[in-house]
């Protein structure tokens, strides 16, 4: 117990140090950074737009000190204006560090320095992990390996100029799901079984959905609305679907197959049919919560845009078509995947497990 407290204190100290260091890391930056020391509101202008939205435009005069570059220590005055709703622009506060961009002798604010917050939040997660008896090493290894694979994926994607996106997504998904299973279950035949089920279920559901989409001529799915209009639309969309559903399907196959293994351990001469039925019964309970997870993640991602559409006087129907049609298509494909995983995993697992001897 005492050892534990010492270790936790140690972790907290490391996190705090890292946070403080990133607060003072301005010398690592090439772009000038200014710490805001004084904020003066110059002008406030309340206005109502054509859709009856009332918003206030505020102009600020900011005084700050350079923290890096050759101008370090010198003062600078900056102007900023923002709407109180702060969609794209923002209010600056005393004490904030901001990155500047320079054109000639004029500086404009480019961005807020956010790295300190990131490091602190990450540190908070790590502290929480250390406060409890989790098997941290496994978890961290799997996350790090997956991030590494993702980094390689991005590098290749940029290198190939998006050409082979779909192929690369498939390879990346095979890798990351494999890594996740290997780390959680170890190099066992159970991991292989879950892997097989995951791959089969994902493939079948994606192929079925693509077929259905093609049959309906992509009606109601505005593929051109993918994030940032990245091309080729269909590949980008499918890649996003595959990535987002993969984690949930992994969860599902692991749950079903490990429960079936338990069952086999308790009842040695269990029949294949009984196992299959039990698998379906277990899976049934998982469908609802798993679809819910994706439902909220997909909708949350589009909240900003949806509210912008609504506040600009668009009808709910039009807003949803423009913002959520892709999200809903993604959700439906995922839901089909989640449902199909139940019989596919139960089938594969019951076939393999019933032949095993325990």
């Amino acid at each position: 117990m005492k050892k534990n407290i010492i270790r936790i204190t140690f972790v907290i100290l490391i996190v705090l140090t890292a946070t403080v260091i990133t607060h003072f890391d301005t010398f690592l930056y090439k772009s000038p950074i200014v710490k805001i020391e004084q904020v003066k509101v110059v002008d406030k202008d309340k206005s109502t737009d054509e859709y009856k939205n009332t918003d206030t435009q505020v102009s600020q005069k900011l005084t700050g000190v350079f923290l890096n570059t050759s101008k370090k220590g010198k003062k600078v005055t900056l102007k900023n204006s923002y709407y109180q709703s702060q969609l794209l622009d923002q209010e600056y506060r005393v004490g904030q560090q901001v990155l500047l961009s320079r054109s000639g002798n004029n500086y404009t604010i480019k961005n807020v320095k956010r790295d300190t917050t990131l490091v602190f939040s990450l540190g908070l997660v790590i502290i929480l992990l250390f406060c409890m008896q989790f098997s941290r090493a496994k978890l961290l290894i799997s996350v790090l390996l997956n991030l590494l694979v993702y980094f390689g994926f991005i590098k290749l994607l940029i290198h190939n100029n998006n050409g082979l996106l779909l192929l690369m997504t498939v390879i990346t998904s095979l890798l990351i799901s494999g890594i996740a299973l290997l780390v959680i279950l170890g190099p066992t035949s159970n991991a292989l079984m879950a892997y097989l089920s995951t791959v089969c279920a994902t493939t079948v559901s994606i192929l079925l959905s693509v077929l259905l989409l093609k049959l309906s001529g992509n009606s109601g799915v505005h593929l051109e609305l993918t994030d940032f209009g990245l091309q080729p639309y269909f590949s980008v969309f499918l890649s996003q679907v595959i990535f987002s559903v993969l984690g949930v399907i992994l969860d599902e196959t692991m749950d079903i197959s490990s429960s079936l293994i338990e069952m086999k351990k308790e009842v040695h001469d269990v029949k294949e049919k009984v196992l299959f039925k039990a698998g379906i019964n277990i899976g049934r309970e998982l469908i609802g919560p798993l679809i819910n997870i994706l439902l909220f993640i997909v909708i949350a991602e589009h909240l900003n845009l949806i509210l912008l559409y609504l506040s600009n006087g668009n009808s709910i129907g039009y807003t949803f078509t423009m913002t959520l049609s892709l999200g809903f298509a993604q959700l439906l494909i995922s839901a089909i995947g989640i449902v199909l995983t139940v019989p596919i995993t139960s089938y594969i697992a019951s076939k393999i497990i019933s032949r095993r001897a325990y």
Partner: protein, 253 residues
């Protein structure tokens, strides 16, 4: 799209049988709650208060419609509520500090036709986004842990409180890693177009790690992970408390 919807409903009814109807019903209620949330916020109601109320409704539906055992459902619901409150308390200062609300310069092209003076508080909406994002993960985690623990206690009623906690963590370990995967893979899904765009805009490393959109995505993932981590001890505690009361009652009798 209709084909997809049709296929989903048919498959769901084949696989889940009559249970499929209640699943569909639950999903429909959740969707309606979310639409209500959007309309209320667009009409100018306070973002945080509206989100809290709607989250409460969503949690009730997500937990009580999916869990048949009342004991499990009660504990899962209590835990989820507490976790959502904690997430709110963590998110508000972190979002304030990071100023990662709204949309980024990367979205500017898409926004040209809009009046940006929307009158909606996007900093508050940023908090709402994280809360909504976490609802599914949190409710599933708490249900999984409380049902797993309840089953263990049923089979071995003689467990000491310490053992209940240890069991909670062994159930929690697996759930934590699968939820981490779900969160991580969803992060991959939503950020690869962003990374690609950043590259074509010639972002430097320092631009990337301070980018508003990316920081918002990472914060979402990290805060949801904190929620999942905290769910484990809190659920174990509630289960343990319940078991303690039960054993005290049986002794008195």
């Amino acid at each position: 799209m209709l084909f997809l919807l049709g296929a989903f409903i048919v498959l769901l009814l084949i696989v889940a049988g009559s249970r499929g109807f209640s699943l569909l019903f639950g999903l429909a209620i959740n969707l309606i709650s979310i639409v209500a949330l959007l309309i209320l916020i667009a009409d100018g109601f306070n973002v945080l208060i509206t989100t809290s109320i709607i989250s409460l409704i969503i949690l009730i539906v997500a937990i009580y419609m999916n869990v048949e055992n009342a004991n499990t459902a009660n504990i899962a619901f209590k835990t989820s509520l507490l976790i959502v409150v904690i997430i709110l308390l963590i998110t508000i200062p972190l979002e304030f500090w990071a100023s990662a609300q709204g949309m980024g310069v990367e979205d500017q092209e898409e926004l040209e036709a809009f009046s940006l003076a929307a009158g909606v508080s996007f900093p508050q909406l940023a908090v709402a986004i994280i809360v909504v994002n976490s609802l599914g993960v949190i409710s599933e985690t708490s249900v999984a842990i409380s049902s797993g623990l309840n089953e263990i206690i049923l089979n071995k009623p003689s467990l000491t409180p310490k053992e209940v906690f240890a069991d909670g963590f062994s159930v929690g370990n697996k759930i934590l890693s699968t939820q981490t995967n779900t969160l991580l893979f969803n992060f991959f899904a939503s950020t690869f177009p962003l990374f690609f765009l950043m590259n074509s805009l010639n972002y430097k490393f320092t631009d990337i790690i301070n980018d508003k959109l990316l920081v918002a995505e990472i914060l979402t993932m990290l805060i949801c992970a904190m929620g999942v981590i905290l769910t484990v001890p809190i659920t174990s505690y509630f289960v343990y408390n319940k078991a303690l009361k039960k054993s005290a009652n049986s002794i008195n009798k």
